[in-house]
Structures are given as C-alpha cells and as structure tokens.
Amino acid sequence: MGEASAHPDLVRVTVDDREVEVAPGTLVWDACERAGVFVPVYCAHKKLEPVAVCRMCLVEVEGMPKLQPACATRVADGMKVRTLTEQVRKFRDSNLEFLLLNHPLDCPVCDRGGECDLQDFTQRFGPGRSRQSIQQKVHFDKAIPLSDKIVLDQERCILCWRCVRYYEEVTGEREIVLQQRGVHTVVDTFERQPLRSQFQGNLPEICPVGALTHAKYRFRARPWDLRRTASICSHCSYGCNLFIDARDDQIARYASSDNEDVEDSWLCDRGRYSFPEYNGRERVTAPEAVVTGGRQVVSHREAVARAAGQLLRIISDRGPEAVAVVGSDLMTNEEAFVLQWLAREVIGTPHLDHRLRPTPHLDPADFELSIAGIEECDLILVLGEEPERLAPVLTLRLHKAATKRGRRVERLQPPYAWTEVAQPQRVGVISSELDRDAGAAIRDQLRGAGHTAQLLTIMERVNSRGCQDMGLLPGWLPGYLAAPQAGMGLPEILQSSATGKLKALLIVNPSAELEAAPEFEAALRGVEAAVVVTPHPGAASRGASVLIPGRTIVEKAGTVTNAEGRVQRVRAAIEPSLTVPTDLRTLGELAEALGTSLGVSPMATPVYEKLAAAVPAYRGAQAGMRARWGSGG
C-alpha cells in the first residue's frame, strides 16, 4: 500500500477509517480483510462463488441506504465501508438471534464445539440471551449417516449452502440438495441416497458449524486436545498440503491446508481418511540381530555395529558389488539421498533401487507442467484414467480449469493420439508413468506444430519423484546424471539374491508392494546378510539378519517432492510410542560404522544442504517451491 499514484490500476477504499488500495472488482469482504478488519461470514467461502444468503456480513457502505453484503458487493473507487456502526452491531445481534432460534443446544456434545463459527460469532457479536423458549424450536433429523464417512445433523445446519455449492462448483457431482422451504428447509441427499463422491471429506471442513461431521472423528476430541502439524499427505505423488491433528500420539484427523499451487484446499477421501494406518498398525518394537543360535533383541548401538560388521565382512570377502541397497518411495529426499550415497560412496555398489517397476527413461521435462499451470492451458489432454486414479485431487483441478476458467479438458483413451488443434495454443498433457512415452510423443508433436506444450507425469507414491531426483536408482546419479556404471535394478537384485549371486542386502523402509512380492522372501533366504530398517513387521523383518526399527512418514521430518517437482516439508506429527531413532540417524550411524562419516549431522536441514550441493535444482527450493530443472522446470 502507499501513494495512489504508484498504482493507477487500483482503487482506494476506506474501511472503518483505514485506507486500502485494491484491484477494481475486489469484494468488499476481501478489502476489509486487506484493511485488517474482521467481518463475520457464514455463506461466503474463498473457494466458492458468493451467494449472500446468511446476511452475517452486512456492512454499511456510504451512499447506500441499505446495509450491503460484504461478501457479494464489489468495491468502487472512493467507497467508504463501515463495519462498526450501531446499525451493523444491532443487525449482527439480530441475525445471530435468528440463527439460534431453531438451533439445538448441542454444543457440549457437538464435534464442532470449540471451533464453530456459530459459537464464535455469537460469543463475539451476538446476543447474550434468547427471547424464544426452547419449546418453540423446529426439530429436524439428527446424526444421519450420509455415507460411512459423513454424518449430517440437520438441526445444527445454518443453511449457508456451502456444501451444496461445493458439490456444484468444486466437484460437479451435486450430491447434496436443499429440500422443503422456509423454516423447514433442510439439506439432504436426494431420497437419502448415500454419498458416493471420493471428495466427501471436504464437507465437514467447509461446513461452518457442526452439521456435517466426519464419522471417523465423532466424539474423538476437542480442538484444544489436538496438536496440529503442517505436513504433506503421504498417499500419492500429488503432495497435498494438510494438517495432521494428533491427540496423545494418535492421529485424530487430517485437515485441509490451503496451498493454491497444489491441492487448492481440497483433499480426496483416500488420502484424508488414510491416517488410521499410522495409529493401529503393528510395529517393529526393538532392534534384533541373528547371533549364534537364533535372533535376539539387542541394543540399537549393537544392531548398528552388527549390521556394519556383516556388511564389511561380505565387502572384504566378495567385494562391494556383492551388496545391494533397496529403499522405497516412502522415504524423504534426505533419506533417499543418504541411502544412495551410502550405497555408492560408502559401500561402493552400483546395485540400488527403490521400486519393483523398472525406470526406463528419465527427464525433468516429464514434469515441466505445474499443477497450478493446468488452469492456464487452453487445452488439457489427460491420457487415460490412470492419472486421476493415482492422484484423485487432480480431478478437482481439471474441473476448475474447465468450469471456472473455461478451459477445454479432453480425456483420451488408448491408443493415445491428438492432432486437432487449430491456432497456436497452450496445451497441457497429463499422463501416468506408464503412458509417459505416449504423453511425451503428443507433447513433442504439438510443439512441432507450433503449440506450447508441457507434460506432467503423475507418479505413484508420495516421494516417487524425489527418489528419482535423488538418484535412488541403478544407472542414475542424483540430478539425473548418468552413473558411470549401470547397476542392477530391483527385479534383478531379487533374482540375484535368490540365486546367491548377491550376498547382502541393505533394505530401508520397504514398500508394501515389495513386502508382498513372493520373490522378496526367496531373495532374503538367498543372501547371507539382510540388514533391514523398517517400522512394520513383514517379510523383510522376518528375513532380517539385523533388524532396526524405523519410523513412518508421519514420525519424521524432511522433504518430499511431488509429481510436478515441488519440494515440500513433512514434519513429525506424532512420536513412536517406543524410542526409535530416525532413519536418517540410523543411516548416518551405519555409515560411520562402515568407516565413512556423513560429514553433517544426520538431520533433515543439514542433509538437505548437502543434497542441494549435489543437486543444484534443489537449491533454495525447500520453502515449498518447485525444483528448478533447466529452462522448463
């Protein structure tokens, strides 16, 4: 803000004697926010079109005889807005009295208590008393299961229409409708059909009160019982930002954050409701090692020493290439970087990988198109169903691009081809890894025809992109540099282990896919030493010669990189119930025991600095930015 002359495109608005300059067409509500003036709203929502039904935001605008809805009125140059006048104060009082007339006295048993806009605004602006007796309240249905995920209480609903508009505008599914009229109006599903959307979990978050609640969070906690940690959804490569709300080291819920560049404040149900897997699942509780006669619980220090001893013996007997290293795309960038360093620099083996599927081709141009950039494309080509199946929230971005931005979205079926673009356009091509070659071909062909075309390749797991960037791959060093020596990939590692060609395995955080593969058990049986770091019991822990407990992704700090190459932070939201060192520390200690020091403290930040030195694209990207790969990225 400053002199008007500096911003000829802006208009000047006064809110309660504070002057702000905003773009023409800005909503009064936003102008108030800019001026630091709080205006209570119920129906307004940053991601939804204004409807002005709750009237909570009515304010005085000089020159207009009636109070105006701040959420739906656009600013004009020189507009004077007043939010603190007697008229406004009185109306807020009235409106809250109206809202409470038929509202149940549920606060003590309502999941929303403590974080409810109706409670909060009543406290702040509302009447201190009620003038209607509770006998006169209109009653509605309560605790209606709209699905196995969502519960509706029609009495608590203040009819702000957010849920209805969410479906209309954000998902396009229209599963919640308004029924009846006047004071009998309710929201409901049509004929009580269960909700089917895969984005239901956003409903309780946009609901300003306790009308729509999560079945999984019912009677679980009050907000002040929860510890909130900003992190990243660990369920796919889209990298949705979220808050992990934990109570007593159990995750109570995931809550949306608002990163416009990524999830745009919406989560899919698969991700949102995935947290129970971090609460109840069985854990590897103590380090163990095979000593003469069987496996025993040992101290962490001894486990690391024995692991190093076993590996060193095989390295000296059979050479470093008798050892293979296996990670997974559930690891952070820091862990992946250290693990590949450990393999290459400390052990000296080229055999390392992180997933069963071979990685045929790698190129940062595979993820040139950013998620937010999708909306800027005139035409968006989606190859098959895989991208949206892998990353459901992508569907909402595509819907937004099509409906709010008027973009053309085409979903192609194999065999993939696209020829029909007349004028030069910006085209986005979105594929899964499986169809990456087809996607790249279409992109190249469109570029050849004079269009601006970019590809976004959607991957499988939370850090699939990061593990590739970090070179946790045979044949690829960090930063997509070709390795001097091509090593074995995971399928070959398993085979060579089973046949006895490989003598030792170092396995960190194995994926569920690997744990379930029959050839994995055979491989573990075939090697002399299997050093395993894992949080969960399974084939790996059973076949380990040294077993060290690991942490799950909600128990550690570090960065992960999403499909578009955005480096984002995960943070420890809960502590494992027993003392488990971080995987990074374990790896650092193992390196030390093998005779090479990591050189920096085995913590996320110093390790990030080390990896950024090796991968220049990651320099300065830690604040949630995309890694800068050449010109495109």
Partner: protein
C-alpha cells in the same frame, strides 16, 4: 366481467368487455384483435419502444418500474433474448391477472408477441401460477390456436419475425413470482431468487438477456401500439399515466376487478365501485397493493391512486389490490394471518426471512391468543428491524411492513391483547352483537 362499467370511455384492458367469444381467435379478431400485432410489425422495434416510453407505462407486477426503461437495459447485439411473462399472481388480494387471462387471453398473447418483437426475443415463456390450472389450460389452447393461425412460430403474419411461446405452470410458490426465482423455476431449479447483479436484462433465463413483465403490463401493449403512447398516457395523469385494473376485496358488497384511470380516482371511488363496506358496517382500514403493503386508515380514503400520493400516505399501490376491512376486524388477527403467509412462503434462502418470519409468526400467534407479554410485544419492532432491508429479496422485507404499520396505527389494539387471555376485538364484537 362483473361490476358496473366504471369509465365507459377510456378503457384499455377491459375495453372489449361483454363482446362474445373473446377467448377464441375469431371472437377476438371480430373486435379488432391482432391489429396491434400487424401494426407493430410495420412499425419496427424502435418505434414500439418509443411508444411504450411515451405511454409512461410502469410495471404492474408490483415494483412499478418504467417498462420502456427496463426494455432499454438489454445489451446491444446479444442474442438469443427471451421474454418471461409473469403470471404467477400470488399476492394476497390480487386476482387481476387471472381475470385478464380468463377474459382476454388473446389480448395478453398479442401483447406478448408485440413485446417479443420489440425486444427481438426468440422465445416467450408464460409462467403461470400452479393453482391457475384452468387458466393455464385456456392459455395453452389459445397459444395452440395462434400457432395454427401463424400468429406464433416462424414468420409471424408473413414477416421475418419468429417467436415461440411456451406456457409453463409453477408449483405453488409465492416466491416464484419474484422475477429471478421465476427464471430459476423455469430452468427447472429450486425457485429461489438469484443474486443481483447480474440483472435478468443482462443475464437472465439460461444466462441470456431476458425481460420479465407482468401479465397486466403486457396486456396494455395492443392498445398502446394501435392508439399511441400519448393516448394511453392521457387516460391518467402526468405522474400516473394510463389505467389500472384494481382488485377490490374484503368487506365490500361487490368484490371484483375495476379498471380505472390512474391519478384521477381515489380509494373512496374504488370502494364505491365495489358497493361500499358490506352489511352497513363502518370502514376501519384498508390494505392497498396486496399483502405486502402498509395499512391505511379512513383518513386516507380520499388519497388518489397516484404513486407519489400513496407513498406519501405511507403505503404503495403494489400489485393493484385493495383489501377493505370493516370495524369488526381484529388488526392483530389480520397481521398474524399475513405473517403466517410469509412464514409459509419464505423460500428459506436467507436467515432474516427464514427465521424472522417464524419468530414473528410465533409471537403474533401468542399475541392473538392474548398470551404474549408486554416485553414480547415490544420485541416485535426489534425482530422486524432485523428483517426489513436486511433480507435477500423483498419478500422478507415486506413480511414486516403490514404488521409494523398496523402496530403503529392500531397500537391500542395490539396493547389490549397483551395478557388479555383472548382477543379483545372479537370479544367486543360479540358483546355488541
């Protein structure tokens, strides 16, 4: 049509009254019907708009917006455009559109076609109140007949102009008379008012420029086109030009519709046309404009039917109704009934109307039964202040107007109900009888 012929000359809407077979094309043609349409097609759109502006015609749906000005809001060069005809007539005390449909359906259709031509609208939708079933069937028959006679459809009367006419029945909601709720209902959505802007003229039916006009408004068009806007205006006064069809009901000897010149006629004249207060009783109060408008008393009987004069008296001509109340009427009861009407008809979209009408209604029931306390009665003004001017659409605002004006004008009567345990007015009437 019942009632005496009030002004033998100078009738517009009811000028053909008494002619046989007016609901058929032949009958209407015999009195000169569709000459206006033929004339309009010769004049061209601009000349028609000029005549309508000259006529000073103001909307008869309630808001009295100048019709020519409204038509002028259509953005240049945006097509298709639509005309929506508001036949939802649900205002308490209003039944003039029904008479115009029942008696002069071809006159309405002719007005619709002239307007559609003036606006270059490709479709006209007549949205008719759900309860008007017979009237809807009649209109449908009239439209069919007109299609057969090439008065509707492509190349009307051999011209280049074509217009489809669709008759659509509502489902019984007062709010669907509000122009944007009408459009949503027409589109098959829940009938609730839309956020404005954009106004229908810019973004209306199916997102296209749309004009919404009342049945009576459009029924004037054949006259304006054939006789000229100036002739129409001259029937009334300068400030309130033309004539209007008023619905007089309530405690009168001969309730009915009466076409009278604006500005020169008074409420007393209307009352007399309807045979005066019934059963020899005394006049107590009247509600002009329909259920939404403020009450007027005996002191207002000589106010002329002029927009400004009625506004100065504290009310409005609204949709052209006059409900007369005799001395036995309990103003609390009337208020309660009207408030119940609004509670029932509130669409539920906005908080002050949805909850406020319910609050009001609970209170008025208790007051009528004589069980409300003085404190409760005192909160009435507060409740209404939280609604009036705060609602999303005028329905909620107007839900307070009658009751507040009655409370001001008949404060003693309201106060007498407090803690009385019964209705003192009815008790008084009983004692007197």
């Amino acid at each position: 049509m019942e009632g005496a012929q009030p002004v033998p000359d100078g009738l517009v809407l009811t000028r053909y009254q008494g002619a046989p077979g007016l609901t058929t094309l032949d009958g209407y043609r015999k009195v000169g019907g569709y000459r206006g349409l033929a004339r309009a097609l010769e004049m061209g759109p601009e000349a028609i708009v000029a005549e309508v502006k000259a006529s000073g015609l103001r909307g008869r749906g309630g808001a009295a917006f100048p019709t020519g000005t409204k038509w002028g809001f259509l953005p240049q060069g945006v097509f298709p455009r639509y005309l929506a005809v508001n036949a939802d007539e649900s205002e308490p005390g209003c039944f003039k559109d029904r008479v115009l449909i029942e008696e002069y359906p071809h006159q309405l259709l002719e007005g619709v076609l002239i307007t559609a031509f003036a606006l270059q609208a490709s479709h006209a939708f007549i949205y008719i109140r759900g309860e008007y079933r017979k009237q809807r069937e009649l209109l449908e028959a009239v439209v069919r007949e007109a299609y057969r006679a090439k008065l509707v459809g492509k190349r009307i009367l051999g011209s280049d102009f074509g217009c489809e006419v669709v008759v659509h029945g509502g489902a019984g909601a007062y709010i669907c008379g509000e122009e944007t709720a009408l459009l949503d209902s027409l589109e098959g959505r829940r009938g609730q008012p839309r956020l404005k802007p954009p106004f229908p003229a810019v973004k209306g039916l199916y997102g296209q420029p749309t004009v919404v006009n009342n049945v009576e408004t459009l029924s004037n068009l054949p006259y304006i086109v054939t006789e000229g806007g100036a002739a129409y205006a001259a029937l009334g006064t300068e400030a309130s030009p033309g004539t209007r069809l008023f619905c007089v009901s309530g405690h009168v000897e001969r309730p009915g519709t009466f076409e009278v010149p604006m500005g020169r006629t008074t409420f007393r004249d209307l009352l007399e046309l309807a045979g005066g207060v019934w059963r020899g009783r005394k006049f107590k109060a009247m509600q002009p404009g329909g259920g939404s408008m403020q009450v007027l008393g005996p002191q207002h009987l000589d106010v002329p039917l002029d927009f400004k004069a009625v506004a100065d008296a504290g009310s409005s001509l609204g949709a052209g109704a006059l409900v007369v109340m005799d001395e036995t009427t309990c103003m609390v009861e009337v208020s309660r009934r009207l408030v119940d009407f609004y509670r029932h008809e509130s669409c539920g979209k906005c908080v002050p109307c949805r909850e406020g009408t319910y609050f009001e209604s609970q209170l008025m029931h208790r007051l009528e039964e004589g069980s409300a306390s003085a404190e409760e009665l005192a909160s009435l003004a507060d409740i209404c202040a939280g609604m009036d001017g705060r609602c999303f659409c005028p329905l909620g605002d107007t839900a307070t107007w009658f009751v507040m004006s009655a409370y001001r004008m008949f404060k003693d009567e309201f106060d007498a109900h407090v803690g009385a345990g019964h209705c003192p007015v009815r008790a008084g009437v009983g004692a007197a009888a």
